[in-house]
């Protein structure tokens, strides 16, 4: 087998231009974020678009980064978990996840945080049904979802009360 053709391109990630040098065409956005750009907050649980662990925002839309070829995301606005709290602190939503007991093994947590950030931007005061529907693309094996739903309720209340990010 001959050596694969290598590509160089630029992605726009969390508001910054990121150069990808010597990438392979078949690399997913998930792979490039994790292995080339060091953004391991985006998780790799199924790599077949079923579990939501690799959720990112692409041009403002919630997407599974495992199903997108990285080279096809040139020119798109990509936001990962790391981009949700640019200062490096925690968002009110992340704090709510920890305080409500929504984090166990934590492998699904980053994807859920991205998905719920998207939900609360669109629907600031979701009903329980709306919460469950919004996170139904994110599999969690540890929690049974009860504490996750509670975390989203708390975050929505905090957002409504105008609370800002915690340290």
């Amino acid at each position: 087998m001959s050596a694969p053709e290598l590509l160089s391109y630029r992605l726009w990630v969390n508001g910054h231009a990121r150069e990808v040098e010597g990438g392979r065409l078949e690399e997913s956005l998930l792979y490039v974020l994790r292995e080339r750009l060091g953004l391991t907050g985006t998780k790799n649980a199924c790599e077949e678009g079923e579990c939501g662990s690799c959720s990112v925002l692409v041009d403002g839309r919630l997407e599974c980064s495992c199903t997108i070829l990285a080279a096809s995301a040139v020119g798109r606005d990509i936001v990962t978990l790391e981009g949700l709290s640019p200062g490096g602190g925690a968002t009110a939503l992340q704090l709510a996840f920890v305080e409500a007991g929504a984090v166990q093994c934590g492998f699904c947590t980053p994807g859920l945080v991205v998905a719920v950030t998207d939900l609360l931007a669109r629907v600031p005061e979701p009903t329980d049904d709306e919460i469950r529907e919004a996170i139904s693309g994110n599999l969690c094996r540890c929690t049974g979802y009860g504490r996750i739903v509670e975390a989203v309720r708390r975050a929505a209340r905090a957002q409504a009360a105008g609370m800002r990010t915690a340290p």
């Binding site: 694969p4 907050g41 649980a45 709290s85 934590g106 699904c108 996170i135 139904s136 049974g144 009860g146």
Partner: protein, 776 residues
Amino acid sequence: MIVTKAPPLPRLGKSLRRPDGMAKARGVFKFSSDLDEPGMLWGHLVRSPHPAARIAEIDISPARAMAGAAAVLLAGDVPGRPTYGLNYPDQPVFASDEVRHVGEVVAAVAADHPLTARRAAEAVAVRYEVGEPVTDPEVALRAAPVHPLGNVLAEQRVVRGDVAAEGDVVVEGYYETGMQDQAFLGTEAALAVPDGQGGIDIYVATQWLHIDQDQISASLGVPHDQVRVHLAGVGGSFGAREDLSMQIPLCLLALRTGRAVKMVFGREESFLGHVHRHPARMWYRHSADRSGRLVKVEARILLDGGAYLSSSPAVLSNVACFAAGPYRVPNAFVEATCARTNNPPCGAMRGFGSVQVCVAHEAQMDRLAAALGMDPIELRRRNALRPGDDLVTGQVLEGAVPVIELLEACSSAPLPPERHWETTEPGDLALPGGSGRAAEPLRVRRGVGVALGFKNIMFSCAFDDYSVARCRLEGGRVTITTAAAEVGQGLVTLLHQIAGEVLGTDEVVLAEASTVGIGSAGSTSASRQSVMTGGAVQAACQAVADAVLAATAARVGVPRASLQLAGGRVVSDDGCVDVPVAEAGALCGECFEETVTYQHAATAELDEKGQGDAHVAFVFSAHRAVVDVDVDLGLVKVVEMTTAQDVGRVLNPLQLVGQIEGGTSQGVGFAVMEELIVEHGRVRNPSFTDYAIPTALDMPPVRIAALVQEPQPGLPFGAKGAGEPPAISSTAAVLAAVRDATGVAVNRAPVHPPDIALALAPGTRAGQGDAGVTPS
């Protein structure tokens, strides 16, 4: 409702936040798949596509010639023991002469890119002479041996009382459970780094560091102390990480290439690369007198262990011990066997053994109640185990046996409101099948079911079960070192709380878990770590506290006997000294360090009649399920789960709720959707597309009707492990509710829509209410 007979403690019993929570929420916690090392290679395994075949020839030259490929390893490249295994090494590191299941590892490759590694693995040319697999466990018991060690992996009888005894009422049934997968989110992953001097460090998501070290060392032929196993972040386990997955091949690749090598399983490979819950076939016969008192329970239970031993003996032992359920059974005859087949290997999964038999013994109790014309709750109440009773194994129950309390709490909890289906629009989320399916509101029926279950905690049957912990107190700061695997359950939080409780401080640091410089903590399984490593940490901290007390007495110049430890403080009789232990230690200006091994009370082997004090402690569990079923389509919506749990003492309420909700969810999944479909030895659905686990829309709210806190004598703080019990009785309760809703005698977990719909369809055995499967 919390039923408590336990006095409160200063730090335990509080919902301390988990110390790794924020790192996980921010995505900076390092899971095993997040690790890297400059210049590292990527590994990939070559797996058998056949359930049974002879290996005629392996040609590695095409793989070796591939640009970027660095190494290809076969069986001949294993310098040490060629096999491994949790109980007994019956599983080849690399198959060389024959393969015994789909997914069996034949070779390993390393390359400079994961895609190259995968291509190189595909390029390893293995010529197989395909044989006829043995895929039916019943057939396996009579078939030619699948393995030189034969086709019986484990067997156990339990014979109690008069096996000829007969009650007035007899019910018989046949039940099955399917193959469930642990389906943790973080797939198997590890990084192995050679030290350049023949030794190796491996960073791996596992459940038991030291047993990994034992097996890796044996197969590498590298001395024990030169194999250093470090815990990398674990994305859930539920039993599937107790056996080795990639550890030995990965270390071999790293030693061969002299470079760091990382391996991450994809989801399909994860389904093929770890053990599953044993499928079970269960024939039962219960007899009772007319008042409903059980006279005898007979059972024949056959497990499919797949191709290799794994932890089948422990699973089989549980099946035999707990076959009759948490009931008084004066006479019993149980025959349990685990067969070796060419199916995927089975082993540990949350609630192992108890989950399978709970499906059967609870269906039998409902069937018996119907035959007696008695309320099934009342039948259970009459037969429930009570303190001081003995099991069918002859073991007398010591301490808490709150079966009746759990039953009462669950069955008397308020029911969710009835749905008004006549005003429900098609497509409503509350309908069975959700918005995307076509359930007809007026064809939806509601049902309610209750189930009881129980299980041992910690390792049983004379196993040398222990955990080692070190406590170091220096300058008021506490460092705790153990090799216990945090897998998501929150042990790290409990260890903080326990150390803080004994030493009177919140300044506690947990050292990284590894095999370096500390003894084994045993496995994170069998609901054992809160007790075992919790107990070891308590004892180590207590030893430090005793030393601080002695040093304080010397420093202050008072007799040692005039000082006491109370609530994490050093206190003098006259009240002049009253200071937290950690602070007292700092005032002494010394470093205190103690290492302690904690062991639970000894247990015995079961004899050939299944008699013996094989278990150290038990937990009891109750669930009530409410379901809505579309009787035409067979779609089931689980509306609510109510549970009551026997916990000994609540150490962290929030984490306990997490265990209860999560365990209940896995039971709900097993009841209505989760099954690895294996046909002719091949897994047909190794993906999250086809192996469905509950989503937030499938999983209903969990109501905790009672947490019975009755501290268990002999256990640290009286707390029982809480990981498994919520998974034991949840599946059985859902199936009971489906039977109640439909009248169909569902006898199989999981119940699939056709089991219901076809049983009720016109022209079939409608009205007879038989569904599911009949024995072969």
